[in-house]
Symmetry: C3
Subunit: 347 residues, 3 copies
C-alpha cells in the first residue's frame, strides 16, 4: 500500500501521529530494520536512539520517527518519506499489523478432531486437526485451537483466545479472553508437591486450579502448575515468554512481563507490572512488590519492596550489585594487597 494510505490508518491508532511528509508516497509492503530496509519497506527510530546515525545510510522508503528536527531534516534531505509519533515503536507495531493482516482460520471443527460429550463450542470457533477436547469443556466464541492441542475435562477457554499446536490444558483450568497459549505450553498440570515420609515421597494431591485472566500470553513449552488447594493465578495482560515455570499456588499480578527461562517457585506472590528478565528465579512463598524489575539471572530469596530494581544472587539493589560485581573481579588483587599490609604490620 501507499505510505499515504498507511498514514491514514495510523491516524486512528494509539501511537500519537503528529506530523508527516509523504515524499514521493512510496509503495510500502512490509517493515524492516533501518540497516536492512529496502525502498518498499518501512522502518522506525525511537527517541535518543543509538541507531539514529543509520538514517544517513538506510535505504528504507519511509520511516516513523520521534518529533526531532534533526531527524526530520535528515529524512527530508535523503528523500525518505517520514511521519513523527509520540511513540514511534507503537506506530511501527500498528503499521506491521496493517501491512500483515492476520488470516483468521475458518470456523469449524476438523473431522479428525475428537470432541467428547457435553463440550460446548461457541460460534466462530476453529478446531484444528487431531485436537482432543474432553468432557464438559467450554470453548467460547471465536477461539482458534490449532492442531494437536489437548484439552482435559472441565476447562473454559475465553472468547477470542488462540491455542497453538500441541499445547495442553489440564482439567478445570480457566483461560480468559484474547489469550495466546503458544506451542507445547502446558497449563494446569499437577504442582510438584510431595510429603517426605519414611517410605519416600508421598504425593500431595493437586486439587486446585489454574486461572489465567484476559489478554495473557504464555510462551512455548512454559508450564503453569495447579496447586494442592486453591488456585494459581496469572493476572490480566501479563506476558510470559518461552520455557518459563510457574509453580503451584503462585499469584502473578496484572501487566507483568517474564522473559524466557524464568522460574517462579510454589506459593510466590508477584505484584502488578513486575518485570523479570531471563533466567530469573523466585523462591517459594516470596512476595515481590508491584513494579519490581529484576535483571537477568537474578535469584530472589526474600520479599522485595515495590518498585525496587534488583540484580544478582542473592538479589540486591541493582546499583549496589553493579559496584559489587566490579569489585569482585578485583578480588585477587584485594587479597594480595591485604596480605602485604598484614606482612608489613607484623614486621
Amino acid at each position: 500500500m501507499r505510505f499515504s494510505q498507511l498514514i491514514s490508518s495510523l491516524e486512528k491508532g494509539n501511537a500519537g501521529l503528529q506530523d508527516h511528509q509523504l515524499g514521493n508516497d512510496p509503495e510500502i509492503n512490509n517493515g524492516a530494520s533501518l540497516e536492512k530496509a529496502t525502498q518498499s519497506q518501512l522502518s522506525f527510530l525511537e527517541k535518543i536512539s543509538h541507531l539514529s546515525g543509520q538514517l544517513s545510510t538506510t535505504n528504507a522508503g519511509a520511516v516513523l520517527i520521534p518529533s526531532e528536527d534533526n531527524l526530520k531534516t535528515k529524512a527530508q534531505e535523503r528523500g525518505i518519506a517520514w511521519a513523527t509519533f509520540t511513540n514511534p515503536r507503537l506506530g511501527f507495531a500498528e503499521a506491521l499489523e496493517i501491512l500483515n493482516p492476520k488470516t483468521i482460520p475458518n470456523a469449524g471443527v476438523h473431522p479428525s478432531a475428537v470432541i467428547e460429550a457435553d463440550v460446548q463450542l461457541e460460534e466462530g470457533v476453529h478446531i484444528g486437526a487431531h485436537v482432543f477436547i474432553d468432557k464438559g469443556s467450554v470453548i467460547k466464541a471465536n477461539c482458534v485451537i490449532h492442531p494437536g492441542v489437548v484439552i482435559y475435562e472441565g476447562v473454559v477457554i475465553g472468547e477470542g483466545s488462540e491455542l497453538h499446536a500441541n499445547s495442553v490444558v489440564h482439567r478445570k483450568s480457566s483461560i480468559g479472553k484474547k489469550c495466546v497459549i503458544h506451542s507445547n505450553a502446558v497449563i494446569g498440570s499437577e504442582g510438584f508437591g510431595f510429603v517426605p515420609t519414611k517410605g519416600g515421597w508421598t504425593k500431595m494431591p493437586q486439587t486446585g486450579v489454574v486461572i489465567i485472566e484476559d489478554l495473557v500470553e504464555i510462551g512455548c513449552s512454559s508450564s503453569i502448575d495447579r496447586p494442592a488447594v486453591g488456585e494459581t493465578r496469572i493476572g490480566e495482560g501479563t506476558k510470559i515468554d518461552n520455557l518459563v515455570q510457574i509453580g503451584h499456588g503462585v499469584t502473578i499480578g496484572k501487566g507483568c512481563a517474564m522473559a524466557s527461562q524464568v522460574g517462579v517457585a510454589g506459593g510466590a506472590k508477584i505484584g502488578n507490572g513486575v518485570i523479570l528478565a531471563g533466567q530469573v528465579g523466585v523462591a517459594n512463598r516470596v512476595e515481590v512488590g508491584s513494579g519490581v524489575i529484576a535483571s537477568s539471572k537474578c535469584g530472589i530469596h526474600t520479599d522485595i519492596a515495590p518498585g525496587e530494581v534488583i540484580s544478582g544472587f542473592p538479589a540486591i539493589p541493582n546499583r549496589l550489585w553493579l559496584r559489587c560485581s566490579a569489585t569482585f573481579r578485583r578480588l585477587p588483587e584485594i587479597a594480595k594487597s591485604l596480605k602485604d599490609l598484614n606482612r608489613d604490620a607484623s614486621r
Copy 2:
C-alpha cells in the same frame, strides 16, 4: 462427607492419627489453606508453623494439627473440629485423596489411536485419542496413556503408569510401575554427543537406553536423554519437576527430588535422597553423594561428599556461602577501606 467419615478413613492411613474431636461433625467437601478455607473445607497446620496464628481467624470447618495442647485448645474454643497427627501434612494429603477420588479412565483403545504391529496391550489399559505406539512396545496392565502421546519402537511401560498428553517416549526406553510422565515430557531422546572434527561436529550415535524405575515422576517438558552406550537411569521413587534436563548416561539414585529447571549434564552420578532446588546445574561426570541438598541456582562442578548442604556457584558449603554472600554486598566498602589503609601506610 462428614468429618467423622473422613476420620474413619484416615485411621487406615500412614499419617499417625492420634486424637480427634468431631465438634458438630461438619460436612467436608474439600481442602483449603487456613486463610481461605470455608466451613465445608478442611485445613491443616504443621509443627511449629508460622501459620499457627491463623487458627484464630480461619473459617475452616475442620483442621488437622500436630498434637500440641495450645492448638487443640484454640480449635476447641473456636468450635473447629480437629484431629491430631504425627504428620499432619501427610494426613492432609491422604484426606485430599479421599475427598477427590481419582477418576480412572475406562479401559480401551480410542479408535483414533494408531497401534502398530506386535504391540502388547495388557488388561485395563486406557489408550487415548491420537496416540501412536510403534512396533514391539509393551504397555502393561492398567496404564493410562493420554491423548497425543507418541511411543517409539520397543518401549516398555510398567503397570499402572500414567503418561500425560503429548509426552513422547523414544525407542527401547523402559518405564517402571506407577510412574507419572507429565505433559510434553520427552523420555529417551538422543543424547547431545558430537565429536569435533575438521568438517564440524560429527554425531556420536546414541545407541544406549533410558531406564526409569518404579514410582518415578517426570515433569512437564522435561527431557531424559539416552547415552551413546549403556544407560541413563532414574532411581525408584525419584521425583523430577518441570523443564528439567537429564543428560545422556546420567545415573540418579532413589528417592531424589529435583525442582524445576535443574540441569544434570552427561555422565553425572547422583546418589540416593539428593535434593536439588530450582535451576541447579550439575556438570559432566560429577558425582553427588547421597543425601546432598543443593540450594537454588547452585552450580556443582566437582564431586560432592554425601550429606553436604551446598549453595552458590561454584558450589560451597551453604553456611560458608551465606557468610560470603553477606560480605559480597559489602565489597565496595571493603575495597575503600583497604585503599585508605594503603594510603595511610604509604604516608
Copy 3:
C-alpha cells in the same frame, strides 16, 4: 560382525585408522564403556585419558586406541583385539554407526496424517501418524516426519531432515538439509516483543522468519523464535541441545554448540564455532565473537571478543574468574583481617 569386518568398514571412514591387531577376531555386536564392556563389545580410549588404567581390567573384546606403544602392548598382553586411530573417539562413533544401522522408515504418508492443499511432498518422504501439514508447505526428498508433528503454512523442510514426534514448525520457517528437530521443539514461534503503553503491553507483530541452515540439530523442547522483521538464523552445522531458548532476531554462526538450558535473548549475534555450556545466558543484542567458549551458567551482558574463554556472571575471563571465585570463599576471613588492621591502625 567380526572385528575384521568392522575394521574393513572403518578404513573408509574419517577417523584415521593406522594400525590394528585382530587377536582372535572377536564377534562384536555393540559398543560399551571400558568399565562395562563384555567380550562381544567394542570400547575406546582417547589420548592421555584418565581412563587408560581401565585397559588393565576391561572385558571388552576389542578397543579403538590412539597410537601409543604402552596401550598397544597392554591390549596385546590382555588378548584384546585393537586398532589405532588418529581420532579414536571418531572411530568409535563410526563403529557405532556401523553396528547400529539406522532403520529408515518406509516412504509414504500415514492415512491418519492431514495434508492440506498445495503441500509438496517430494520422493522418499515418510509422514507419520497424526501429522498435520498446512497449506503451501514443502517437504523435500527423504524427510522423515514422525507422529504428531505440526507444520504450519508455507514452511520448507530440506532434503533428508528428520522431525521427531510432536515438534512444531511455524509459518514460513525454512529448515535446511539433513537437520534433526527433536521431540517437542518449536521452530518459528512468535518472538516475545511487546510495546509498553498506558493500556499495557501491546504486541509487536512478529512478521519475520526463522531460517535454519543445513546440518543443524535442535534439541527437545527448545524454541527458536521469529522476529518482528527480518530473520532469526541458525548457521550450518550448529548443534543445539534440549530446552534452549533462541530469541527473536538472533543470528548464530556455523558450527556452534549450545548445551542444555542456554538462553540467547533477542537480537544477539553469535559468531562461528562458539561453545556455550549449560544454562549460559546471552543478553539482548550482545555480540559474541567466533570461537568464544563460555562455561556453564555464564551470564554474557556485553560484547565478547573472538576467541575469549569466559565464565561467571557478569562474564569475565575464565582464568580471572577461577581466581576470583577462589577468593570469594575467603571473603569472611578477608573482612575479618581488614577489620583487625583497621582496629590496630586506629589505636
